[in-house]
């Protein structure tokens, strides 16, 4: 129940910390999925708060598709060093062998092999029984119904019809060997909450979130940044320099930029307040059809 003396951000913060502590107390091998984006930044900040003065009692896992923005990888390595974190990086070796990439294989197959499959490989390999993720219920319709402790069977599948009821702040952390949960401490945060909190707490984020002149090409109505020379240009296509920023970060060929001059957090928050386009729109993978995210989730994608 709400406590009126705490502001909404402090209340969300406390609830997230509570979730972190429950998972660590009840599971043998938790891990935090670290995607380097702003939600991961907040998640990491909350994890540091939850266990202070102890260090974070679990490793971070980055599933690297090899197509992330270079600035993301640089940022990741800096954070890991500065905060003295344990980072595991997993790349799907089969995908690498077959040369899977978004340009050669299309976004759906690339995401499936380098992200969904790779994540399952890593979870199986390290035998993690709980994985923290930064998903929020406000992101997408099917996520609105996801539990905070979201149960996965041995094949990492999510069964939306058969979820455990979640009451009060009593989370059921019982799993059998081989089964696991995904835990979502940011379930009740909105995109605006995330930005306000980053500002209030001065949390470092990847510079790609801030507007700067970057080389982009326009494809299917989206501005795609040319981050390295693996990007094949169509005939007559030349990268243009535009002042752009990103609202979400992922594989650079699949992540649309928005034109913006917002180069500071207050400017980003101001843009947010007048925004008329929700954040997942910058992701190519959701566009196929209504319900596509739900299908991916059932298969084990976050």
């Amino acid at each position: 129940m709400s406590t009126s003396r705490l502001t909404h951000l402090r209340q969300l913060e406390a609830e997230s910390i509570h979730i972190f502590r429950e998972v660590v107390a009840e599971f043998e091998r938790p891990v935090m999925l670290y995607s380097i984006g702003k939600d991961s930044a907040v998640l990491l900040h909350l994890a540091r708060k939850a266990f202070h003065p102890s260090p974070i009692p679990f490793p971070l896992l980055h599933v690297d598709t090899t197509w992330k923005f270079r600035e993301m990888i640089h940022f990741r390595d800096t954070i890991v060093k500065d905060y003295e974190l344990e980072l595991l990086v997993h790349i799907n070796p089969d995908g690498v062998k077959q040369g899977v990439g978004p340009f050669s294989h299309g976004s759906a197959l690339h995401t499936d092999i380098m992200k969904t499959e790779a994540l399952k490989q890593a979870l199986d390999h390290y035998k993690f029984d709980a994985a923290f993720g930064g998903a929020r219920r406000d992101e997408e319709a099917s996520r609105a119904k996801e539990r905070v402790f979201s149960f996965r069977n041995e094949a990492h599948h999510w069964d939306p019809k058969n979820q455990r009821p979640e009451l009060w702040n009593l989370y059921n952390g019982r799993v059998r060997k081989g089964e696991s949960i995904r835990a979502f401490p940011l379930s009740n945060w909105t995109e605006l909450d995330i930005w306000q909190y980053i500002y209030m707490e001065d949390i470092p984020i990847v510079p790609l979130y801030f507007a700067a002149e970057r080389p982009v090409v326009e494809r299917e109505g989206m501005l795609i940044m040319v981050d390295d020379d693996r990007m094949p240009l169509n005939e007559g296509e030349t990268p243009m320099m535009k002042s752009v920023r990103f609202r979400t970060l992922g594989c650079y060929p699949l992540t649309g930029a928005i034109e913006s001059t917002a180069a500071t957090l207050p400017e980003i928050i101001q843009e947010m307040l007048v925004a008329r386009t929700s954040e997942r729109q910058g992701r190519l993978i959701d566009k196929d059809q209504a319900g596509s995210m739900e299908k991916k989730k059932q298969e084990g994608y976050f």
Binding site: R137, L167, P266
Partner: protein, 632 residues
């Protein structure tokens, strides 16, 4: 920074300051699809400008494809998250929606109103501060309105908004509205609400949703949003005595030992005396540690780490409390239970009970009555099915600390978990401790189990034979007892059929009776082990959880499960007692292997292959195991 940036920064700073004043209201909306509930929430999201252009575009497209508003925007589609539901046209689970105004952030639990989904409503209501109960103005107070209101009050919600919807379809009639208000107020007298605010609305047209409605000049009260923005909430958590369930013991090094947890109620200051009520140990708060620095004071809702002046034995599951106003510590209590799974509740089966941060084995010792959610009538029953609500006594395997739910929801609520499927099977709210728990103590005696067993030259144990009827359990058990007797060992054999002639002759073969049958035998074998005997138990005992329960009654290592693994075809071919024939003919109901399940042991200490081993070899194998393990 240039001037423009400075201006934005100043504006945003000011904006964030106002955000600092903002708090959070969680509410639940109750009503069925017919009441226009999804439209109601969709409207709030719409009017608070929380829809983005692409969501809007998707909504417009979906409205044309499957909408029910003749191509007009169907707000309800916004809320139906899962594709399957979208096609069925009903909301079947709890979905959480978010919106914010300049005054508050809101989290809406959207739950269905269909009878079979009581569990979802209870789930949504468990975290809500307020309930919006929707009524279709054309239909008035219906049975489902009563059901929703009862569930909301059961979960301790004190504030209600009665949204009388579809006023546009009754010509915005004041008379209709007043009639519904008075019907509802009369009905709600028997419920424990503090405040009921009736508002006439049309969610579809937007009347009285955000601003005043021109169509209803006779109504002078607040709009829905105005009320939600201003209603006072959450003060009671602070006025309650201090409680903090310990989640995690924080030990980065030998010099620091802190107790991390979320404060469930009250406030705590450095220097306050706290107590762990189960052990009675107390100490003073030395520091309130957070990542952002130590605090002088912390309040309900904050997640902190406390260090104490003295080393007292506190671990996860304990509750740190104010010394003056302590919770009750007991191992039995009465509670209201909502059953949330399709497997019915079995009295006497052991479940796991999670309250606060502690998990304890518990069983429902008696079901006093069930409550009809539509009429609130009490009915006698011996089981609870999905979506049923019962008032029960629970008995735990150790004492825990708690408060009555009405005094403190955070320390008076619990969930029950099935020990084998791990499903959350029930939600519970404690009424009060049962006094007898405090007054009955285990009588300690001077001659103990080890002394009794030593005198007999053995270690006491239970050999628990399980397997299908006709698998050879009793034959093998009988041979084992003969062999042990010849070795001068002291034994007793509890046989299923024999016990059913006496101690358990009041029990039949329903699932509930089977569970009770095994509970009694488990308790009896425990007494025999206490007497120092090697106890042989030969029971079909088809359910894993009951065998586990029997095991749990004994100390580690005392319980040896002997699985007589004989395939059903062989048992049926033997059919010594002619029972399979009768079962196949339908003359015996609930016959294990035929019309009732047998759950195979997963980790039995001894497995006998009944299709290959002779009874003699099997008995030798068991006696050999007893020798190896030092029992004889």
């Amino acid at each position: 920074m240039d001037q423009r940036t400075d201006t934005v920064t100043a504006e945003i700073d000011a904006y964030l300051k106002t955000q600092e004043q903002k708090n959070l209201l969680r509410f639940i909306t109750c009503g069925s699809v017919d009441d226009g509930k999804s439209t109601f929430i969709g409207r709030l999201l719409w009017d608070s400008k929380l829809l983005f252009e692409d969501q809007l575009a998707a909504l417009t497209a979906e409205s044309k494809r499957v909408g029910t508003q003749n191509g007009e925007i169907d707000y309800a589609l916004l809320l139906d998250g899962l594709q399957a539901e979208r096609e069925q046209g009903i909301t079947i689970d709890v979905a959480y929606r978010f919106f914010a105004t300049d005054k508050r952030k809101f989290i809406v639990a959207d739950t269905p109103g269909h009878e079979q989904y009581t569990r979802n409503m209870v789930t949504g209501a468990s975290t809500a501060d307020l309930a919006v109960i929707l009524i279709d103005a054309r239909k008035g107070v219906l049975i489902q309105t009563m059901r929703h209101s009862y569930l909301v009050s059961l979960l301790g919600i004190k504030k209600v908004v009665l949204a009388v919807n579809k006023m546009d379809l009754v010509n915005y009639s004041e008379e209709v509205f007043e009639k519904i208000c008075s019907d509802y107020t009369k009905f709600a007298e028997q419920l424990d609400f503090e405040e009921i605010i009736p508002i006439p609305v049309s969610a579809l047209k937007g009347d009285n949703m955000i601003g005043a409605s021109e169509a209803m000049p006779w109504y002078s009260g607040p709009s829905v949003l105005a009320h939600l923005e201003s209603v006072e909430i959450g003060a009671e958590d602070l006025s309650r005595p201090f409680r903090m369930p310990v989640q995690w013991v924080n030990r980065p090094n030998l010099d620091f030992r802190g107790f991390s947890g979320t404060i469930a109620s009250g406030t705590i200051r450095v220097g306050d005396v706290i107590v762990e009520p189960a052990s009675g140990q107390s100490s003073k708060v030395a520091r309130i540690v957070t990542f952002d620095g130590d605090l002088e004071e912390a309040i309900a809702g904050q997640a902190v780490t406390l260090t104490l002046e003295d080393e007292i034995d506190v671990s996860r599951g304990d509750i740190l409390c104010a010394t003056k106003d302590r919770p009750t510590t007991a191992d039995q209590f009465e509670a209201k239970i909502v059953w949330m799974t399709s497997d019915p509740m079995l009295p006497s089966r052991t479940y796991l009970l999670k309250l606060g941060t502690g998990t304890t084995a518990a069983r429902i010792s008696s079901l006093k009555y069930t409550v009809n959610v539509n009429t609130m009538e009490q009915m006698a029953s011996n089981t609870l099915k999905l979506n049923e609500i019962g008032v029960c006594n629970l008995s735990l395997d150790k004492s825990i600390s708690f408060d009555p739910y009405t005094d403190s929801p955070a320390t008076g609520s619990f969930i029950l978990i099935d020990r084998f499927t791990n499903a959350t099977v029930a939600a519970g709210m404690i009424d009060f401790a049962l006094r007898r728990a405090e007054n009955i103590h285990w009588q300690s005696v001077d001659i103990h189990k080890e002394a009794r067993a030593q005198q007999k030259g053995q270690k006491a144990s239970v050999l628990w034979f399980t397997g299908l009827s006709g698998s050879g359990k009793s034959t093998i058990a009988n041979l084992v007892e003969k062999k042990l007797h010849a070795l001068n060992k002291h034994t007793y054999l509890l046989d299923g059929d024999n016990v059913r002639h006496g101690l358990n002759k009041d029990l039949g073969f329903t699932d509930a009776d089977r569970v009770e049958n095994i509970r009694r035998v488990g308790e009896t074998s425990k007494l025999m082990v206490d007497a120092g005997l090697i106890t042989l138990v030969s029971f079909i005992s088809p359910f894993r959880s009951e065998r586990q329960m029997a095991r749990g009654l004994l100390e580690d290592g005392e319980f040896l499960e002997v699985f007589v693994d004989t395939p059903l075809e062989i048992c049926e071919a033997r059919d010594i007692k002619g029972l399979y024939k009768k079962a196949r003919a339908g003359e015996i109901k609930n016959f294990t292997g035929i019309s009732s399940d047998y759950e195979r042991p997963e980790n039995a200490e001894i497995v006998i292959d009944g299709s290959r081993q002779s009874p003699e070899d099997s008995a030798d194998q068991i006696v050999a195991t007893l020798k190896e393990r030092g029992f004889i």
